[in-house]
């Protein structure tokens, strides 16, 4: 077990090193440096610059050194906790990323709080009696909701709830501080898009458990059906959905850029997109670092959880 985790962590370190080196190479082109200069100095400022003063400007920003030296310096800085400086927002990267992570975390918290009960209940009810009316309609309905891309779900919900009925604000920029009402639409969008997938996983796992020998024995033994479900079936049926739910964390962190952009929610994904478009290398590096770490950690957690919940694997 520990050996496995250790191997995963070493692999994660390798991946981070490779990824950040690639990113430094990619963002080393003249085009990106020009883009930063253009954004900071304006069109006129850049064109009136002589070649020499442009080089001075690059040196001032620390962009004149070769990428591998910057990579080494950056790696050293990260180990001491310094994530660099954002060109676009002109602040330290660490607090910036942390702030955005907090926003995305809040979003993820509400999504989980709503999605997990809904999808588990529906999945268990559907899988309990395979082929029943509820099961069939659930399966069809969930194909429907997961097929509609997030952007379309966002549009439909905005048009109906915000523009049509006027119940909710259409944007979630939160300019005047935190506003719970502005959080509802993004959360709803993500829940509608995601619950079908988890519900289907739960349903499949529940349906499989219900056909197993020990459930049949329990039913034939004369136990009340309720008890069979609650005591015997659920415990095993919820192992597979658990891993799926943990892996959703990864998706919520960086896969929901489009929802954050559409609602103008100041989340992690939006920061990443803006930084990548701007050529803000240190922000992109920090975001990738966080994203890879979360991806690997959620994988490890789901693996550990799986072995922990499933004794057959634990003792094997």
């Amino acid at each position: 077990m520990f050996k496995l985790i250790g191997r995963r962590l070493i692999q994660m370190l390798l991946i981070i090193l490779v990824a950040s080196l690639i990113l430094f190479v990619i963002f080393d082109t003249d085009d990106f440096k020009k883009r930063i200069a253009l954004a900071e100095l304006g069109n006129f400022g850049l064109s009136s610059m002589t070649e020499e003063s442009y080089q001075d400007w690059l040196a001032e920003k620390g962009l004149d050194i070769a990428f591998h030296q910057r990579f080494l310096k950056w790696s050293g800085d990260v180990l001491t906790g310094d994530l660099g400086h954002s060109f676009e927002k002109d602040t330290a990267v660490g607090p910036l990323v942390l702030d955005r992570l907090k926003n995305t975390g809040l979003l993820a918290l509400f999504v989980f709080a709503l999605m997990i009960p809904i999808s588990l209940t529906l999945g268990v009810l559907g899988g309990m009696r395979e082929g029943s009316g509820l099961d069939r309609s659930l399966t069809f309905f969930s194909v429907f909701t997961t097929s509609i891309p997030e952007i379309a779900t966002a549009i439909i919900l905005t048009v109906v709830l915000a523009l049509g009925l006027g119940w909710l604000p259409a944007k979630s920029a939160m300019i005047n501080g935190f506003d719970f009402k502005q959080l509802i639409l993004p959360v709803l969008t993500l829940v509608v898009y995601d619950f079908g997938y988890v519900a289907r996983m739960t349903r499949a796992s529940m349906a499989e458990v219900m056909t197993s020998q020990y459930i049949r024995t329990a039913v034939l033994k004369g136990l009340p059906y309720r008890r069979v479900i609650m005591k015997h079936a659920l415990r095993n049926a919820l192992i597979a959905p658990f891993t799926v739910i943990v892996l959703q964390l990864n998706w919520l962190l960086s896969g929901v850029v489009v929802v954050e952009v559409f609602f103008e929610y100041k989340g992690f994904g939006k920061l990443l997109l803006e930084a990548a478009l701007f050529g803000d290398i240190y922000v992109v590096q920090a975001c990738t670092l966080v994203a890879v770490i979360v991806a690997v950690l959620s994988q490890i957690i789901s693996d550990i959880g799986y072995t922990f919940l499933n004794p057959r694997i634990r003792f094997a």
Binding site: I15, I26, S147, P149, I155, L163, G255, L277
Partner: protein
């Protein structure tokens, strides 16, 4: 003794079309003109451009008839293929339909089912006055062509690496799997954003980005299948005959991994369509001025935040949803049918 021989009725034309070879020819006939039409913009003369689409129209119709008759046991698959081929049909017939020029500004902000400047607009016009109906129909061309091309390229690359990793094993496997793991642990969106930002937004670069993002997952599936199949007797037979590794991979393994990955391909076509629309919405995908669903959403999202103009957002959103729903229903139906057999 008189023996009456009952000759079975001659198979109908449609039945005779159902051989894999004929379906392949029909598919190529439907696909290649559309691909040349969209990718060859500017290369081919305007007047000649429309003519190359002509053979695709009957081909799509026949393909639809074949699909409906052979999948009639699963209404889900029929519904899915109807949605997908509806848009495909729209894509190949777009130049021949009596539509307004999708890029010509006519009358801005005309609501659906209204008349402005003596022209009746079924779906209204957008903020620049371009006909929405025409833009929706033209818009499906690029999504379809780039989506299918990107998925296809990702499959070719993923299958090649998967077969090599699965069949040759050893160092090949270690190397390919590590590289695949590196790519897989990158969040997909980060990968898309970084690649497209570096290469610049265009259709061909979307193909590259999708390949990087999807090929590792496909590689894993094919590798798993190849690991299983290579222990079969017919593979040992081929090895004993002294066939080369390449021959075994192409002739023995490839046809046997085909079945499971077809269902996966339908699902992945849906993902790719979502990805292309999303990336275009974010400004990293296809570029204006030509009509495209993601682009329509992107442009409308800035101006149409009013109930009265919500149709500008809703129409492309519903269009892209219906196409993706079609792909997913098709995958579901195919899986259902393959489980039943």
């Amino acid at each position: 003794m008189a023996v009456t021989t009952i000759t079975p009725p001659a198979p109908s034309l449609l039945e005779r079309m159902k051989t894999p070879r004929n379906i392949g020819i029909l598919g190529a006939l439907a696909w290649l003109p559309l691909m040349t039409y969209v990718m060859g913009t500017g290369l081919i003369d305007e007047s000649a451009r429309n003519i190359i689409l002509l053979p695709a129209i009957p081909a799509v119709a026949i393909l639809y008839a074949i699909a409906v008759t052979s999948w009639k046991e699963s209404w889900i698959a029929v519904l899915g293929v109807s949605l997908v081929l509806f848009w495909f049909f729209m894509a190949v017939t777009a130049p021949f339909l009596p539509l307004a020029d999708p890029n010509a500004p006519i009358a801005p902000f005309a609501t659906p089912f209204s008349e402005k400047k003596d022209i009746f607009f079924w779906l209204g016009t957008d903020f620049k006055g371009r006909d929405m109906l025409s833009r929706v129909i033209w818009g499906c061309q690029r999504v379809l062509v780039w989506g299918v091309t990107a998925t296809f390229v990702a499959y070719v690359i993923g299958t090649i690496f998967g077969l090599i990793a699965g069949y040759l094993s050893g160092w090949w496997d270690e190397f390919i799997s590590f590289f695949g793991n590196v790519l897989l642990s990158f969040p997909v969106m980060v990968l898309f954003i970084v690649i497209l930002n570096y290469l610049g937004p265009s259709g061909f670069n979307i193909v590259i980005a999708v390949t990087f993002a999807s090929a590792p997952a496909i590689m894993r599936i094919v590798r798993g299948l190849a690991l299983d199949i290579k222990t079969r007797d017919y593979v040992f037979a081929a090895q004993t005959r002294g066939e080369s590794a390449l021959w075994i991979m192409v002739i023995e393994l490839l046809p046997n991994v085909r079945g499971p990955i077809i269902v996966d391909a339908c699902l992945r076509l849906g993902y790719t369509t979502v990805a292309i629309t999303t990336l275009t919405f974010l400004g990293l995908g296809l570029q204006p001025p030509d009509a495209d669903w993601g682009l329509m959403i992107r442009e409308a999202a800035k101006v149409a935040m009013l109930w009265k103009f919500a149709y500008m957002l809703l129409i492309p959103a519903l269009a892209v949803s219906s196409l993706i729903l079609g792909f997913n229903l098709m995958a579901d139906g195919l899986r259902e049918m393959s489980l039943r057999d």
